[in-house]
């Protein structure tokens, strides 16, 4: 998708004014989406994303120019514009390319672009019908089928010339339960870095529909969650969003490299309970958040962030690496060519521990059992995080009493990690889209069941 001779010419142009590093990223991507509402396919869309970006560094400053015009002329125009914005520097020589294709066709058995949309529609239909069967209180089911095939090429003045094809498929179902005056929702959104064969092994559409519908109905009949400070048990899978928000974002070079993260300068120090080991892994076969190669052309890695409570590493991109004087970790990502890449999470999870899940609840006294978490956000400078509990249960005297709705959890990353007092064995990953400076990228969150000894629960 990018001729090496043109690439060389463009890179030379980009560093002409003293830039000491330049990079070209070219992308061609087909997105397929199907949306079903009220039992009928409402929209079916095929979109083609096409463009390129040229990035130039001078020391720790970066210029990024992007365009839809990926012809030689279009790329040269970007390079000229970028070079014009660079104010001097030590310059660099364009190294000979070492071309590596990271595409792994053996991982993808059935390219979604080879599957008829009508066949995809059947999966959404099955999920929606299953959701409707759960209860007459289900008044709406929205089923979304999503796939994309993204072809990329990234090359730079240091000789990187990487190509890759990323294929992802996902089924997302939300159900609405209503009693006429109140609505409650439930959802389930599994996906993987797989083709359409995902429906043979990873996704059972009926189960997805049922999970979403059951959650909506449960929440419709749940009283409001009481507010207060209490112990909280967070279940596996999407529960891992707690580490993602409370710690993950604050370990990205984006905030660490300029010193604003609460975890900046704490390498080798204890930041979490001894029972916490956390990993950001881009290499898990077929995982939603996996990448063969990152968007700067670095092969994916497995990065241990926290080991037995001690901070061992950060997630570091090229620019961050220059500021921090630490090696890159192959986790630089971007939503598309329209974003300059930066350090991001991949599949981030708390590693399995030794604690028994049943004992965790039995010994917690009164508190909250957060079975399904929603999304959240964090302010890396202060560590203040928040996230929603989509399906929660009140625990009284170590026994699950009844479901509660409308709960949210807030706290400070540095404090909550030290308050994790149990880590279970049943690690599971769950899929999400993570938004940050370089756009929205697919990530996994994950953990076994864990317990936090005390946390502020927002409710009504």
């Amino acid at each position: 998708m990018l001729d090496q001779n043109i690439a060389r010419e463009v890179l030379q142009e980009a560093v002409r004014t003293g830039g000491d590093f330049a990079e070209i990223f070219v992308e061609d991507r087909i997105d397929n989406t199907l949306m079903m509402r009220s039992g009928r396919i409402e929209t079916a869309n095929t979109g083609r994303l096409h463009g390129a970006g040229v990035r130039v560094f001078s020391g720790t400053n970066a210029v990024y120019v992007h365009t839809n015009d990926t012809s030689r002329e279009g790329l040269m125009a970007c390079a000229r514009q970028a070079a014009a914005a660079v104010k001097g520097g030590k310059g660099c020589i364009v190294q000979p390319f070492n071309a590596i294709d990271y595409t792994r066709p053996e991982e993808i058995r059935l390219l979604p672009t080879d599957v008829k949309a009508a066949v995809k529609a059947e999966k959404v239909r099955a999920a929606e019908a299953a959701a409707r069967r759960i209860s007459p209180e289900i008044v709406q089911v929205i089923g979304n089928y999503i796939d994309h095939v993204q072809n990329i090429c990234v090359c730079n003045t240091e000789g990187v010339f990487a190509t890759d094809q990323r294929v992802r498929t996902r089924l997302a179902v939300s159900a609405v339960a209503s009693n006429g005056t109140e609505n409650q929702t439930g959802s389930d959104n599994p996906g993987a870095m797989m083709g359409f064969e995902i429906f043979d092994s990873h996704i059972n559409p009926e189960k997805v529909g049922e999970t979403a519908a059951k959650q909506a109905v449960t929440m419709l009949h749940a009283p409001l969650c009481p507010a207060g400070i209490m112990p909280v048990v967070i279940d596996n899978g999407f529960g891992g969003v707690i580490f993602h928000e409370a710690c993950g974002h604050s370990l990205e070079a984006t905030s660490v490299s300029i010193g604003v993260s609460e975890f900046a300068g704490k390498l080798g120090q204890k930041i979490a309970s001894d029972c916490v080991t956390a990993i950001d892994d881009g290499t898990i076969l077929n995982a939603w958040g996996s990448i063969h190669v990152d968007d700067e052309g670095t092969p994916a890695q497995r990065t241990v962030l926290v080991e037995n409570g001690i901070l061992t590493n950060y997630m570091i991109d090229r620019l961050g690496s220059r500021r921090m004087n630490m090696p890159i970790t192959g986790s630089s990502r971007r939503q598309s060519y329209a974003f300059a890449p930066t350090s991001r999470m991949r599949s981030t999870f708390i590693a399995p521990g030794n604690d028994d899940e049943a004992e965790m609840i039995a010994s917690m006294g009164d508190g909250l059992y957060a079975k399904k978490m929603g999304g959240g956000s964090v302010n890396p400078a202060t560590g203040e995080f928040n996230f929603a509990v989509n399906e929660g249960y009140l625990v009284k005297d170590g026994k699950i009493a009844h479901p509660v709705r409308g709960a949210s959890l807030i706290g400070r990353g540095s404090e909550v990690l030290l308050k994790i007092d149990r880590v279970g064995k049943n690690l599971d990953l769950a899929q999400g889209m993570c938004g940050s400076m370089s756009g929205s990228v697919p990530t996994d969150v994950g953990q076994p069941m864990i317990r936090v000894s005390s946390l502020t629960v927002g409710g009504r």
């Binding site: 869309n45 507010a227 956000s377 949210s408 927002g458 009504r460």
Partner: protein, 444 residues
């Protein structure tokens, strides 16, 4: 390929392929963004982007497809995409291609210098904002963001009925976000200004205001849990309205995703509440002469004195209810959705100080976090990490943080006591003044 030619070629190819009615929607934009860090420009981003979507009917069913590549292959991909998509669509109620209105409003132009402003001027503003923020208070430790963004966009819509419409817009925006430290505590904050005249962006003012917003949070602490009288400052209320704007969509109501279904003509809010959708606001971020289907834009009150006068409609949702479209069709990818334009609570008489004096004891909330997860647009429930300050005896008390404020947006509409005078759009198409929302549950 020349874009005019490309658009005509796409429409011809659609016709030749048996697509009955077809429409091209083309958007092009140029954007500039830069940021300063420690006295240097550390981020500089320039882009030119184009996107073209085709929608068309085959046997009465609407298909959609879009592209950012503009070659021969793209024409085929667009046409085939529309045909495949139309064959799949099952809904009875269909979007339609519209032949257009007889007249379109003219939005008074506001003065704009964005096209003439050089990159050097924009970079200088970034550096000056950072400097101003650092100089404003010794507790400022760093300015994590001092950024400027400008952009311009063009829309062209051309269809097989001969409708051919264009619209243009531009904006500029500046934002500073300092971090303050004192006595082992860290606080963040920020201030943003936006508009259509770059020369109006004042580095000193933005820098200072950003610092005020930040240092006032130092020493913040939770308040005891309980019920509190709450004023949502204009920016917090703006973010709440933005989160729940979808409940006013007729599309959502018809799909059982909004509890306002069938509530037209009923009182759904306090009598002090009037909610406007005004696409003709000069210089508004959501201003448009025509909507995503080519319907002429018009101004309307969605809530008038507490009464729901109308939901927001596209042609399809209006036809289903036997009413006229409100001109709120919105392009999302290739598909038509319903969305507000410039959407705001009509301001009242009192400023924030006067609202606080009326409240006596309570809380002003200045920041709500995690709206994408802690607020449910379908149920109306929210439980959000919040910041602000106490109101004690009608005056500003101490800074508050690490609390959640919880409620239900439908109930908030009804419990609003007063709407302030300080309408602000926070650099978006959604706006609000500060609002005394009555009593909410706080946990801390």
């Amino acid at each position: 390929m020349d874009m005019n030619l490309f658009i005509d070629r796409v429409l011809e190819a659609a016709k030749a392929a048996g697509i009955d009615t077809a429409e091209v929607y083309y958007t092009a934009g140029e954007n500039f963004r830069a940021a300063a860090l420690e006295g240097e420009i550390n981020r500089y981003q320039v882009s030119a982007s184009q996107n073209l979507s085709l929608r068309g009917t085959v046997n009465g069913k609407m298909g959609t497809s879009s592209t950012q590549a503009f070659d021969e292959a793209a024409i085929q991909q667009l046409v085939e995409g529309v045909k495949e998509s139309a064959a799949l669509v099952e809904t009875d109620e269909q979007d339609e291609i519209y032949a257009g209105d007889a007249e379109y409003p003219v939005i008074p132009e506001v003065e704009s210098d964005i096209k003439e402003t050089t990159a050097e001027t924009k970079l200088a503003l970034c550096l000056a904002m950072e400097k101003a923020a650092k100089a404003a208070d010794e507790r400022v430790w760093k300015v994590q963001r001092a950024m400027v963004s400008t952009g311009s966009s063009t829309i062209r819509m051309k269809n097989s009925y001969g409708l051919d419409l264009t619209d243009e817009g531009s904006y500029c925006m500046a934002y500073a976000a300092p971090i303050a430290k004192a006595e082992g505590k860290t606080a963040t904050g920020g201030w943003m200004e936006a508009g259509s005249k770059f020369a109006d962006l004042d580095a000193e003012r933005i820098g200072k205001k950003a610092v005020e917003e930040t240092v006032c949070q130092l020493g913040g602490k939770p308040v005891p849990g309980g019920e509190y009288r709450v004023i949502m400052r204009f920016d917090a209320m703006q973010s709440l309205l933005q989160t729940f704007a979808g409940i006013f969509s007729a599309e959502n109501a018809q799909q059982n995703l909004s509890l306002l279904k069938g509530k037209e003509g009923e009182t759904i809010a306090s009598p002090v509440v009037t909610l406007m959708d005004d696409p003709l606001l000069p210089g508004g971020f959501g201003s448009q002469r025509f909507d995503g289907e080519g319907s002429a834009s018009r101004t309307k009150a969605v809530i008038d004195g507490g009464v729901l006068t109308t939901l927001l409609h596209s042609r399809k949702t209006a036809r289903k209810q036997g009413v006229q479209t409100t001109g709120n069709a919105h392009r999302a990818g290739g598909a038509i959705r319903v969305a507000p334009t410039n959407f705001f609570f009509k301001p009242g008489e009192k400023d924030l100080d006067a609202l606080m004096a009326d409240v006596g004891d309570g809380l002003v909330i200045t920041d709500l976090a995690g709206l994408h997860s802690g607020a449910n647009a379908v149920s109306g429930d929210f439980s959000l990490l919040s910041k602000g300050y106490t109101i004690e005896g009608g005056k500003r008390g101490h800074a508050v943080e690490q609390i959640t404020v919880a409620g239900n947006f439908y109930e908030v509409l009804k419990s609003i006591v007063a709407v302030g005078s300080d309408l602000d759009f926070s650099g978006s198409s959604i706006g609000s003044p500060s609002v005394d929302v009555g009593t909410l549950k706080v946990s801390g």
